[in-house]
């Protein structure tokens, strides 16, 4: 400070501060903010507002009735079951993939990373369809499965498979860059000091990646519970049996049962909002321990 002041006396006049040349006039600024917020209001706020108002359009008791009706309860149960199987599977996969990719150097690694990302660029409808082609009644394994009395398509296994496919990369994608950045010095030290494989994972690696892991699981879960296209193809839409919550919303909506459709939709919207809040809190508090906030 004093140094700058002493130089200031003889230095040429200071250029205008950066914020002046790097910014626009107040009018332009206000207009741009208005355009951006208007766009977001139109596409983010209004859809959420319409879900809430339509959900309660017929009153609170109708809202509660729509959510406690047996088919709705069955849909909620199925959605929770499918997510409870799919998310841990992808969690285990994400950990394994991140461990071998971020901790070892081997040939073909970049190809492996690209392949892990593949499900994100496949249309959800195709994600469901590939299992119909394999396990459906007219599929490759269909006749064999039927003779052994195993049902995959139009049943829980198919719904779980489709959900696993569309949420496949979430955990791995978060953990791989995070663990690559953290490096393996601490793990190597632990091994040299005699840690076993499990000790190494539980005491050294897990504490370093726990927030990133939670972040990946959170996004994975939101997508698993909300998936529509892929599950729609494999579910068969049997009311009370193979309808997940998003599919139940569709059926109610197509029956013009708007209040009930939006009541179930409001639950899913609440899930999205809770996910968003936790995600944002994680980003604010643990930005250093998340890969997603530093990538790009």
């Amino acid at each position: 400070m004093t140094l700058e002041a002493s130089f200031g006396a003889s230095a040429p006049p200071a250029p205008p501060p950066a914020y002046q040349v790097r910014s626009e006039s107040r009018l332009v600024r206000a207009a741009l903010i208005a355009v951006a917020l208007g766009f977001l209001g139109l596409f983010l706020v209004l859809p959420l507002a319409v879900v809430l108002t339509r959900a309660f359009a017929s009153g609170v008791s109708a809202y509660a009735a729509a959510l406690t009706e047996p088919d709705a309860l069955a849909a909620i149960r199925l959605t929770l079951t499918a997510a409870a199987i799919a998310v841990p599977l992808n969690l285990l996969f994400g950990l394994c993939a991140a461990w071998c990719i971020a901790r070892f150097e081997f040939r073909g690694k970049s190809v492996l990373i690209t392949l892990i990302d593949l499900p994100f660029s496949v249309s959800p409808v195709i994600a469901g369809m590939v299992y119909v082609l394999l396990f459906g009644l007219h599929g490759w394994l269909g006749p064999w499965l039927r003779s052994h009395d195993v049902q995959i398509i139009f049943a829980l296994p198919g719904i779980v498979l489709a959900t696993v496919f569309v949420t496949f990369p979430f955990v791995a994608r978060e953990l791989i860059p995070l663990m690559q950045e953290q490096g393996s010095d601490e793990e190597e030290a632990a091994v040299v000091l005699g840690a076993s494989g499990w000790q190494l994972f539980l005491r050294v690696t897990l504490p370093k990646i726990k927030w990133g892991l939670l972040y990946g699981v959170l996004l994975c879960n939101a997508r698993a519970m909300g998936e529509f296209g892929a599950v729609s193809v494999v579910s068969g839409h049997i009311r009370g049996q193979t309808n997940t919550m998003p599919l139940h919303v569709e059926i109610l909506y197509n029956e013009y049962n708007m209040a009930a459709a939006f009541a179930v939709a409001s639950l899913l919207a609440a899930l999205a909002l809770v996910t968003l809040v936790i995600k944002t809190l994680l980003e604010w508090r643990y930005a250093d321990e998340l890969a997603a906030t530093r990538r790009h």
Binding site: P15, A18, R22, S25, R29, I33, A36, F39, L40, F43, L44, P47, V50, V51, F93, L95, C96, A97, W99, F104, E105, F106, R107, L115, P119, S121, V122, S123, P124, V125, I126, M129, Y131, W140, L161, F165, E187, E188, V191, V192, G194, A195, S196, W198, L219, G226, E227, F228, G229, S232, V233, M245, P246, V249, E250, Y253, M258, A265, L276, K279
Partner: protein, 291 residues
């Protein structure tokens, strides 16, 4: 000691000569093995089955299934709407990213967090909400009706749904690049007498162009494959407002596996081409960033 430590999952030692660099860490074999097995079972084998199915149709069979007027019309609808939505997102997404990075206003952090809503909101919920908004008796549809503009149940509705779905992509790819842009170049341009508009168009835009294109391509790719949010608002009229993913679903419901396989393979090819393009763009982005 390292060997003893590695013993519970001691496969790490057997990684084979030139295949990988040696490491003291355990667990390479078992984690790579599980990763490859899981990847193959869930993703690779099912996708290979689809492609093999398409190959089984033969060259003529494949094109006969793809070159039907209804398929070509759906191709046009899907690509046209995805392109329009990606363009809208490129323009407004850039404005949103600019405002979030450069300006301070009350609620900025909340707005920034809200941009990810389309990633979190289930597509079916977005679909029925947008349909309610833009239907002729809806909040926005009611305003547009007297002007003779109908959005819901027309191709315009598809563009609206795809704009919602693709909204975060441009914002999230442009934002970090804009943030890391050095002030010097803009200041130099201003010092050398460039007006603000010229500085933005000649200095800032070229610097963020790779990111903008990447976001555009990501939004476009997502839009081409999107299903859940579109089918409610589209009206789904064959030849007019029927998207490709819906056509696949209809073909599957009619047990037209050959037709569905051909159309799906075409879509898969397009997705992979876009994926390649996006990777090249990101490579370009990184190269520019490092330079």
């Amino acid at each position: 000691m390292a060997d003893a430590a590695a013993s519970p999952t001691g496969w790490g030692r057997t990684g084979g000569g030139g295949f990988r660099k040696p490491s003291v860490l355990p667990g390479f074999g078992i984690t790579l093995g599980f990763t490859l097995a899981y990847l193959s079972l869930i993703v690779l084998i099912p996708l290979a089955a689809l492609i093999l199915g398409a190959a089984g149709l033969g060259w003529d069979g494949f094109w006969a299934a793809v070159l039907k007027p209804r398929v070509l019309a759906s191709l046009q609808v899907s690509f046209g709407a995805a392109l329009a939505a990606a363009l809208i997102n490129a323009v407004f997404g850039l404005a949103v990213a600019w405002v979030l990075v450069r300006y301070d206003f009350p609620g900025r952090r909340v707005v920034n967090a809200a941009v990810d809503l389309p990633f979190a909101l289930p597509t079916a919920v977005a679909g029925i909400a947008l349909t309610e908004l833009y239907a002729p008796n809806g909040w926005i549809g009611g305003l547009l009706e007297p002007l003779g503009i109908q959005v819901a149940f027309t191709p315009l509705g598809i563009v609206v749904a795809l704009t919602f779905v693709g909204l975060p992509f441009v914002v999230r790819t442009v934002e970090p690049v804009l943030q890391e842009l050095e002030a010097e170049q803009e200041e130099a341009a201003a010092m050398l007498g460039a007006g603000r508009l010229a500085t933005v168009f000649r200095v800032v835009l070229p610097a963020i162009l790779p990111a903008l294109l990447t976001g555009f391509a990501l939004a476009f790719a997502r839009g081409v494959g999107e299903y859940g949010s579109v089918i409610f608002i589209a009206g789904n009229l064959p030849m007019v407002s029927e998207i490709m993913p819906l056509l696949i679903v209809i073909q599957l419901e009619q047990y037209d596996y050959a037709g569905a396989t051909a159309v799906a393979t075409l879509m898969l090819a397009v997705s992979f081409a876009l994926l390649l393009l996006i990777n090249l763009l990101q490579h370009w982005m990184r190269a520019r960033h490092d330079a």
